[in-house]
Amino acid sequence: MSDVLGFYPYIAVAILLMIGLYTVMAHSNLVKKLIGLSVFQSAVFLMFISLGRRDGGTAPIAPMEHGHAVVDPAIIYSHPLPHVLILTAIVVGVATTAVGLALVVRINESYRSIEERDALASDRKVDEQLDQAG
């Protein structure tokens, strides 16, 4: 634990991951679960971006001279590849969240509740009635 300071983004990532995971598991509300999942996701994004960061670096955009991009070896850049991967991941994350929320809307229409427990209890009741009828 000598130089915790050199690892502070990773510690923040671990704490955010824990909070997200806890929200997903401890809550019965489906919207709350999805929000917990997006917190979890943001923590992963943060980890990738931290890995690409370099001290004294700048955003990976080359300077322009006379309308042309030029290579200047004196400039230190942060690594662009994690940025590209996370750009893709953010957009895919929103798409999957949209699917999840659409499912929540359908569940609410069928069960009149967005609580996981209510839906499971309602399913159990139907099963019991079917057992009694058969």
């Binding site: 050199g6 690892f7 671990a14 598991m25 931290s50 042309h68 991009a69 359908r106 069928s110």
Partner: protein, 188 residues
């Protein structure tokens, strides 16, 4: 100096995440999710990922919040009190997961170091230097996204298309034509 701003922003993110986990009013939680994304965008700017910050601010803070609010408008906005029987196992799992993560993450090279595998790999040179001669695009992230890793982006577009189709199938007109079935279920 930069580290102080970074640490305080990360602390704000953690506090916001804790508030998200605790609050039961889902409208407040949806707005806090927007705040959380905005804080994440600020951190991304400080970590030199300006394109990611752009996307996070537009898509994360803007679109996701709207999606959550729209869902709450169609369903209900108050979370029921969840019985506490799940809290302790969840805390145990999350806590042990976090402990393993902190152990593993402490094996990573120090934050911001230049001699890490990420920065020493030959591909870094190709992306940061050769790509400018090859494509003449100043923004390396754009070059990577659109040309070097164009197939990734194509895959992303396929995923978004699929997600759009699934949402339409779930909520569109075809899904609504099964109403009698649901009435029977409601009577049960």
């Amino acid at each position: 100096m930069l580290d102080i701003i970074n640490v305080s922003l990360l602390l704000m993110m953690i506090v916001t995440a804790l508030a998200i986990a605790r609050l039961r009013s889902l409208f407040a939680v949806a707005m806090l999710t927007g705040l959380f994304s905005l804080l994440a965008a600020c951190v991304f700017v400080l970590l030199d990922a300006v394109d990611v910050a752009f996307t996070e601010a537009a898509v994360g803070a803007g679109m996701t919040t709207v999606l959550f609010l729209a869902t709450l408008g169609l369903t209900r906005s108050r979370e029921k009190v969840t019985p506490k029987d799940r809290a302790i196992p969840a805390m145990l799992v999350a806590g042990s997961c976090g402990a393993v993560l902190i152990y593993a993450l402490s094996g990573l090279p120090e934050f911001g170091a230049a001699d890490t595998p990420v920065h020493q790999h030959p591909i870094t040179e190709k992306y940061l230097v050769t790509s400018i001669d090859e494509t003449h695009i100043p923004n390396t992230v754009t070059t990577l996204l659109a040309s070097y890793r164009g197939f990734d982006t194509l895959g992303e577009v396929v995923v978004i298309f699929t997600a759009g189709m699934v949402v339409l199938m779930l909520l569109g007109r075809c899904a609504r034509e099964r109403e009698p079935d649901q009435d029977a279920r409601a009577k049960d």
